[in-house]
């Protein structure tokens, strides 16, 4: 690339931004000049239009196409083979089971640890610093975190010095080093630990903010009624932060269902650790079995659906109470 190329590219960016600004400006100008009658609808429609357009192109169309592709084979004929493959092949079933294990463990454990941590550090000295420490991992990308944890789980055979923290500990206590990433089912659990490590900070920060929103009067009233700390926590704090708990739990659940980076970076789906999202990419893009990939995507969608419905339901109930 030469300097002239670079200048050309910068100019392109500037021009693009200018055109975008001009179009938006023009649009707003015309909305303002819309006929008086039904102006609200005109304005509503025009302002919604760009957003709806993006949703249609970026979400609705691909979703429909993926659903159709899931029922086609490579030559475009209609078939159920992709689903038969998914529920009969041991390797494919394994990915489904693993995904269930992930969703069963990661959200609960990270929410519980995050909640406990938030409660314990609440109003303590140096609360801010404790928060920063736990929140830090969330700033690291999944791939970055996986690379770090790969070193923790690293294995060196025999008498070579262990460079992995976990194996170094095992050896220090007189054990034999273990090939953590190759030993099923421990490897899946160890991968889930990475997810928990990342997500706990997120849970903690949100729940901590929610705890601070619980009215002091209620806590004091409970105190006067002679409750102990556990009862106060159980009967005052938790109901008070129920909305946040659900949001945290469902957000982490969805992130866990989509987990791809960790598995791909750590084991690439080998040693019985593959999950649906990883298998979806592998099938669709590397194995060029678009149908199988789409079928897995569809399953993922079916998994996510109840969580979202639950989330929306709880939030709606909360609003009704208010």
């Amino acid at each position: 690339m030469t300097t002239a190329d670079l200048l050309g590219k910068i100019l392109q960016v500037v021009m693009g931004l200018a055109v975008f600004a001009a179009v938006v400006g023009l649009l707003i100008f015309f909305i303002d000049k819309a006929p008086k009658k039904g102006r609200d609808y005109w304005q509503l429609g025009l302002f919604l239009l760009p957003g709806m357009l993006f949703v249609a192109i970026g979400l609705v169309y691909p979703a429909i196409r993926t659903s159709l592709l899931a029922f086609q084979d490579n030559s475009g004929d209609w078939t159920l083979d992709n689903f038969i493959w998914m529920f009969t092949q041991p390797a494919a079933i394994r990915t489904l089971i693993n995904t269930v294990i992930w969703v069963a463990l990661a959200p609960i454990i990270s929410t519980v640890i995050g909640l406990a941590y938030a409660v314990f550090i609440d109003k303590s000295r140096g609360e801010r610093y404790y928060k920063v420490i736990l929140f830090m991992p969330i700033a690291i990308s999944f791939v970055g975190a996986s690379v770090i944890w790969r070193f923790v789980y690293e294995y060196r055979s025999g008498d070579r010095e262990q460079i992995g923290l976990l194996n170094a500990l095992v050896v220090a206590f007189g054990g034999e080093p273990v090939q953590w990433m190759q030993t099923a089912p421990v490897n899946t659990i160890l991968l889930i630990v990475i997810m928990i490590w990342i997500q706990t900070g997120f849970a903690m920060v949100l729940l901590s903010a929610a705890i601070k929103g619980v009215p002091t009067e209620q806590i004091e009233a409970a105190q006067l009624d002679g409750t102990n700390a556990w009862q106060r926590f159980r009967n005052v704090t938790v109901p008070g932060i129920r909305g946040s708990l659900v949001v945290v739990f469902t957000t982490i659940s969805i992130a866990t269902l989509k987990v791809f980076d960790i598995v791909r970076t750590m084991t690439a789906g080998n040693f019985d650790t593959s999950v649906v999202a990883n298998e979806m990419y592998t099938q669709a893009f590397r194995a060029s079995e678009i149908g199988r990939g789409s079928a897995l995507a569809l399953i993922l969608f079916v998994f996510v659906l109840p969580i979202i419905i639950y989330n929306v339901n709880v939030l709606r109930k909360q609003r009704e109470i208010r």
Binding site: M1, T2, T3, D5, L6, I10, D73, N74, S75, D77, D81, Q89, P90, A91, Y155, R156, S157, G158, R160, Q179, M181, Q182, R264, A268, G269, N270, F271, T282, Q283, F285, R286, A287, S288, E289, R292
Partner: protein
């Protein structure tokens, strides 16, 4: 007040200027080559173009990509075609998506014949021009031309090549202990047993780890044994699913490989036991040979550049140097030489004269000699002068490729459908060396073979 206002727009301007200046550091102002300095004789046949651009995509990266650019610099100067090469390690995964969306580069270097077939099936490829086909007929063997042909239509000529199935060894150790280079697979078994019996180290070092492609070096082993044990015809049936993947002949090849890969007496020299195969990176797996804790390492000709991971020439690769390679021997002493290997096919996604001129140049002997003389690679182009290659091993490899007696077969996993060749075969190898039985693995791979 004035000052604050002034500041408000000063900050972004200063920031933009700083970023702009910083970005100029990324640009290498390459001086345009002066046409007067270049001998344009060999390029006259391709014509001249005014302001024509050709974009090229492939898997080749870093220094190899720089050498590619260098290999057609004169061509660009003389013909006026501007070639822009963009390499990506995700190229194979993305090219079909790009092609479907109409965003493919003008030319693609496809390292898998199976992928060429798929792209041709999708109707995205432009058939090769007469000039390209004439070159393919003149300079390449029928086998090689076949890899760029689909349903009788010729889509592109090969580019470079590599030979798989080299066994790397320490020259000094072989001399010192009087080991002979084996002439048959049985002799190789005996040699391995001898080394193992002498006791101070295991004979083979193997690394199958390669990120999300972990397992592929193992597929090379199996392919080499399939070709040597059962010959090219069975090999062709195997890769085209003429025989099932769990055929007894395939099982035989797996078990023969298993004598080494699944045997704790044989692997993993300098690294550990069998379980370390899947965690040792293929790039570094052969290096224990240098310190004498391993004697033999199976890897393609490209491994030559891996012996000096830090660059430089501390380890010399030559028959009288530190390390050298011999081809995995045939099954019986009298068998003809059979090798497996790889290479790229040059396909086009846009119909234009400049694209065909560029493809014609790449398929010519001129290009092959230009590129190979820059070092590091070989080509199966018959017009290539072996002497221009950069090392003894490459000269030897070119001679093998050009020998009409040699049976050449493309790397089998690159010929199989992606679901097998780029997924279940690799995963199967990993499962196999970590404990699954041959029958179990072969059944799983067979079941993953796409029905359509």
């Amino acid at each position: 007040m004035r000052l604050t206002r002034h500041r408000r727009w000063m900050t972004p301007v200063v920031a933009a200027a700083a970023i702009g200046l910083a970005l100029t550091a990324c640009t290498g102002d390459i001086a345009e080559e002066d046409a007067a300095d270049v001998d344009c004789g060999p390029y006259e046949e391709y014509g001249t173009f005014d302001g024509a651009d050709v974009t090229v995509g492939g898997t080749i990266l870093d220094i190899e990509a720089d050498r590619l650019n260098e290999s057609w610099a004169d061509f660009e100067t003389c013909t006026g075609i501007d070639v822009a090469y963009q390499g990506s390690s995700e190229f194979e995964a993305q090219i079909a998506v790009l092609a479907e969306g109409g965003n493919a580069p003008d030319v693609g270097f496809i390292p898998q014949p199976g992928l060429v077939q798929r792209l041709a099936d999708g109707g995205w490829l432009i058939p090769g021009s007469e000039a390209v086909e004439a070159n393919a007929d003149e300079w390449w063997s029928e086998d090689w031309k076949q890899y760029g042909t689909h349903d009788g239509t010729f889509y592109g000529a090969p580019l470079m090549a590599s030979i798989k199935g080299y066994v790397w060894y320490s020259v000094a150790e072989f001399e010192e202990k009087g080991y002979e280079i084996p002439a048959t697979l049985d002799e190789l078994t005996e040699l391995s047993a001898t080394i193992a019996a002498e006791g101070d180290h295991k004979p083979w070092c193997v690394g199958l780890e390669s990120g999300d492609a972990t397992g592929w070096p193992g597929t090379d082993w199996v392919e080499d044994y399939m070709l040597r044990l059962h010959g090219p015809d069975v090999y062709d049936q195997w890769v085209t699913h003429g025989i099932p993947f769990n055929d007894p002949q395939v099982a035989e090849a797996f078990d023969a490989v298993g004598e080494y890969l699944k045997n704790d007496d044989m692997v993993n020299g300098g690294i550990g036991d069998v379980s370390t195969l899947v965690t040792e990176a293929f790039q570094t797996a052969g290096l224990p040979i240098i310190d004498g804790s391993c004697s033999l390492h199976h890897q393609a000709s490209f491994y030559e550049t891996f012996w000096n991971p830090e660059g430089g020439d501390e380890v010399t690769v030559a028959s009288d140097g530190d390390v050298f390679g011999f081809l995995l021997p045939p099954a019986e002493a009298g068998d003809p030489l059979s090798v497996t290997g790889g290479g790229e096919i040059v396909v086009a996604f846009r119909e234009a004269e400049e694209v065909e001129a560029y493809r014609a140049y790449l398929s010519s002997d001129t290009w092959a000699n230009n590129r190979v003389s820059l070092g590091g690679v070989i080509s199966a182009n018959r017009g290539l002068d072996p002497e221009v290659a950069s090392s003894e091993l490459l000269v030897q490899s070119i001679e093998i490729l050009q020998d009409p007696e040699t049976t050449f077969r493309f790397d089998g996993s690159d010929l199989m459908p992606g679901a097998v060749g780029a997924d279940s075969f690799w995963k199967g190898i990993v499962a196999w060396v970590t404990g699954q039985s041959t029958a179990q693995v072969l059944d799983t791979i067979e079941a993953s073979w796409p029905t359509s």
